[in-house]
């Protein structure tokens, strides 16, 4: 296979993309719960119970897009992600 500069650069971009997705998903964030004033709220353990109507802020608390507001009752964490039904 002939390796052009473009193919090498695209390959590195893809490697970086995959590495970033895996790294970001595998990191365990400790969140801050505004309602409980708990700075060690573990929101990444599978099966963890999350109280309803509590607001959580990510470790980078200033990021509004990372804040989870009004988590419904019976929220169960699957893997490192939140899955809930509205």
């Amino acid at each position: 296979m002939v390796k052009t500069l473009e193919s090498v650069l695209i390959l590195h971009t893809v490697v970086g993309l995959i590495a970033g997705i895996i790294l970001g998903a595998s990191l365990t964030p400790m969140c801050y719960c505004i309602d409980c004033q708990d700075s060690q709220a573990d929101l990444s353990t599978p099966g963890q119970y999350i109280p309803s109507n509590h607001t959580y802020i990510s470790p980078q608390g200033h990021k509004q897009s990372m804040a989870i507001e009004n988590v419904p009752e019976n929220t169960i964490i699957v893997g490192k992600r939140f899955i809930y039904d509205n």
Partner: protein, 150 residues
Amino acid sequence: MVIFASTGYWASIGTLMLIYLTYQDFKHNRKIDDRKNYLMFGVTLSLFSHVDITLWYLAATILSVIIMTALVSKFAKGLGAGDISAIGWIYYGLTVLQPGALIGFIVLLAVIGLLHVTVKEVILKIKQPVPFFHVILITFVSTALLFRLY
């Protein structure tokens, strides 16, 4: 479904890459391995799997990166292609993570860049191009610390 993950890895990997590229910039007299910049473009793209943004915002960020790259290439003649690539992924990552940090980065880059040019041209009186990656590294680390990106 809400996806939740830490995005601190982006700033951490970015800092490591910039340290490596700064080392290369000095060691090989302004020649760097641009593949590292493209690796960082990939890492930056991966942020989209961890943050919740709209398609319109995504389109706007892509457009703004294209415009920024074109403007920097046209007006900042002293910068090399590698410098522009690095500024490109930093710009893109900060736009996705925190637009406020992007403004901080641009202001800091202008200030530190001006300081760099002043030292180079006025104090040391060097006319030929010199390595620039250390300016990007210092600016990036300062911005990441200031806006708690680690």
